[in-house]
Chain length 351, copies 2
């Protein structure tokens, strides 16, 4: 297979973890006879510094024409303390999601047996957790009309959803549930919000098309509780943009393996793959960042092309590295810590 | 002191736990020389069954003219699976909050040494946790314009806040922080929402009036994570209605003592006190419900009248009961379980 991949390294440790993901992906490509062309492009604070915008048109061109996007991380402390600054890296993120139509954010949370003790939760609570959130990513209150009235003394944000937007996301949820345990949870706040009632009635109407899937409906506040109490009781969860933002982050810390969690954002044409961790500016250039989440994101990318064996080879290599203790500082538990590059080298040699 | 207290027992176990709170409050009143007149009124499914509405005008009259409201719990399974039913108990709750102007929901999360092992979190994560959320309760997306367009295919919910609403809530937050560790966290999503930017700029402008309070600003998704990782790093948190709904519920389960957590909803004229747990319909009439959260809510009520010793006597009695093992089934750990009434009797005798 010939693959054109847009490479958006971004800020902080982004470029370092992206380098290792490229290294391991290239090793996979060589082993399985694929050819990857990497197309680097600017994003985040790096793009603001270079051309004054976090998601420039030139970057959009590269992404639009690629088969997929591999993304590092964005965010820089100089933009952190002023959410109303005219240009911020996050705006690039939102613009990119909308421009590329990345409507479904896929956020798995799973456990690695060797890392269970890193979880803030007791072992019996977290063991066996393997859930996936599908978060709607291009609608809702993020993209509704917002502004001020009354000389700035009144602010508003409108949350809007159409039935078609809900169907598109829910369809992915049902399909994913069919490949897993056939359990789907629709997370909403239908006892208060009209948009949630639209979500719920739309999903209810789709149930008949997936008779094997067992669907449950839970309020967002109840899910926020049960994620801490019994995360392993969930499988596939679908939800709107803002609830998804909060709950996927909550879910990401319960496993204790946050530094290893990959994600995908699926569009109709092109999809994007990125680690869920941030740009950790303090660690920039120190060769200490953990590249595994980015490498597992690249594995999701291969699988999304239907290259399941390739993805599995990457996952297996990561598992082997964890067992062999070939890990960065964050997972070394006081033992020997490898550098970002060394972990990448080891994985490239072991896929 | 002469106190007129509206008594809204509600549904499920509501009446049973309210009975015990009345019993213990009366014992306190007798000991400290106060006189309480209880004014029962209908609410929830009980009110729908009786008069067709969950918060009838007659109940509003009783509440408005009372010095405070003591509330049990509402919710009944027959209304559970249809969020679009024309009359639902929750609507009564929202109507009551708005009609009584209960703008600040006070939700503490703290730990009891004897119950630490009930937490889903590891002991070292949860030990020493003692935080309070102030959730704005009468604004935001709960009460903004909502509806449908395009023949029902588009739904919207508008989130609106005014500067005055934020100031009113934030003032309570600063004042509460001054009585505690002088740390205040403003929870928002100012990187995306205009209402959050109004929250943040309003709180920032108030900082100069409370020079001793150290204020931090955190995004709601980050707080959802840190609540699970290091709950004991928080003290007072202020937030808007919907974020507060999600985060206070998340916080309530981390301590392992959810069945014991009280709450208050403060208004300009009258305030309301209630346990955070639900109406547990399955437990109705079995004399097994834990009345302690309601009794601790009554303690908050006394303290809100400035009757600090009275509140402390109730808290101390609850602590003593926990240590002596005078507890209901949920806390009995396979040991002897007392009934709802017996726990109330013991506490009334020991305040
Ligand atoms: C940076 C921010 C705008 C973004 C979001 O809220 O979507 C982030 O929190 C995320 O989840 O990717
Ligand atoms: C029942 C529901 C409307 C309510 C809310 O969302 O405010 C509840 O979850 C709460 O937190 O008191």
């Amino acid at each position: 297979m010939k693959l054109n991949i847009a490479l958006l390294a971004g800020d902080g440790i982004g470029p370092e973890v992206i380098n290792e993901a490229v290294k391991v992906s290239d090793a996979i490509a060589q082993k399985f006879g694929h050819e990857i062309t990497w197309k680097p492009a600017l994003t985040g604070a790096a793009a603001i510094d270079a051309v004054g915008e976090p998601y420039p048109d030139s970057t959009h061109e590269v992404c639009k024409n690629a088969d997929a996007v591999l993304f590092g991380a964005i965010g820089h402390p100089k933009y952190d303390n002023d959410p109303s600054a005219p240009v911020r890296p996050e705006q690039g993120l939102l613009k990119m999601r909308k421009a590329l139509g990345l409507f479904a954010n896929v956020r798995p949370t799973f456990t690695f047996p060797s890392l269970l003790d890193k979880s803030p939760l007791k072992r019996e609570r977290i063991e066996g957790t393997d859930l996936v959130f599908l978060r709607e990513l291009t609608g809702g209150i993020y993209f509704g009309e917002k502004g001020r009235k009354d000389n700035g003394d009144t602010a508003y944000d409108n949350c809007v959803y159409t039935r078609a937007e809900v169907q598109r996301l829910a369809k992915k949820g049902f399909e994913l549930a069919m490949t897993r345990s056939k359990k789907l949870c629709c997370v909403d706040k239908a006892n208060v919000l009209e948009t949630s009632r639209l979500w719920r009635e739309t999903v209810q109407a789709m149930e008949k098309d997936y008779p094997e899937v067992e669907v449950s409906y839970e309020f967002v506040d109840a899910v926020a509780m049960r994620l801490v109490q019994w995360p392993n009781s969930y499988d596939v969860l679908i939800t709107e943009n803002l609830f998804g933002d909060i709950l996927t982050d909550e879910a990401s810390v319960i496993s204790g393996s946050m530094g290893l969690m990959p994600s995908a954002s699926m569009g109709a044409e092109v999809s994007l793959f990125e680690p869920i961790h941030g740009s950790y500016p303090q660690a920039t250039g120190l060769n200490i960042a953990n590249p595994m989440a980015t490498i597992l994101s690249a594995a999701m990318m291969f699988e999304n092309f239907g290259l399941m064996e390739e993805g599995k080879a990457m996952r297996d290599a990561v598992n082997k590295a964890l067992e062999a203790g070939v890990v960065t500082e964050d997972l070394a538990n006081g033992g020997k810590a490898y550098g970002t590059k060394e972990v990448g080298d080891w994985l490239a040699a072991n896929v």
